[in-house]
Amino acid sequence: MDKSYLLPHALKKVGWILFSFSTFIGVLLFFDWISLSFLDDFPVFAISSSWIFEDSVAFGLTKNDVSDEIVALLIIVGGLIVAFSAEKLEDEWIRNIRLKCISKAVVFNYLLLAFCILFFYGTSFYMVMIINMFSTLYFYIISFHINLRLANSKFEKELIQEDTQ
């Protein structure tokens, strides 16, 4: 992966704050543990909007509860910043780890989705699709940072062992 595609390292902290906060609010909204009623009936422009028992709208104004849209966008923006901001020292070893983690995240996500397609139906599958919008990003972020941590802690242990020999 070419380093020029990565965001500056300084943005990583901002990304983590945004990603963590929006994930927290997103989970609360997902399970209906909170309701942001002040965002109900917000006027929005829709390329396409269709609900059961309501008239469809195409390229026009409609009203919608935008709390989930805002949280979803914040998760995406925060997640992308975390995922694609450079490490302090971004070298080809870390780029190698990035590539492996992205590949594994995509494959794992689709295997999990295939499993869900087989065993989840109706409204439950709708919930799966909501999670699936973000799951690849989460899998990659978790996988990449765990791999980095493990590699670093293993390395530190080897250094200590070398020093004590």
Binding site: D91, E92, W93, I94, A151, N152, F155
Partner: protein, 66 residues
């Protein structure tokens, strides 16, 4: 692929961190190259070759399975 990076580094009495700083990579990268867990790119291999003033194939050697 096998390498004698550790030997070359020891001849010059350098730590992994010192070598990493000279080359411009992380010390973990040097560690993983030495332990055979990571194959460096052509550019990195050439940088090491220039640094140690040795041809690349005196530092890195192909194994039968490669």
């Amino acid at each position: 692929m096998i390498n004698n990076l550790k030997v070359e580094r020891a001849i010059r009495k350098m730590t992994q961190e010192e070598l990493a700083k000279q080359i411009g990579v992380s010390r973990q990268a040097i560690n993983h190259i030495e332990s055979g867990k990571f194959v460096p790119s052509t550019i990195l291999a050439l940088k090491l070759s220039v640094f140690f003033n040795k041809p690349v194939n005196e530092i890195f050697t192909l194994e039968p399975g490669d």
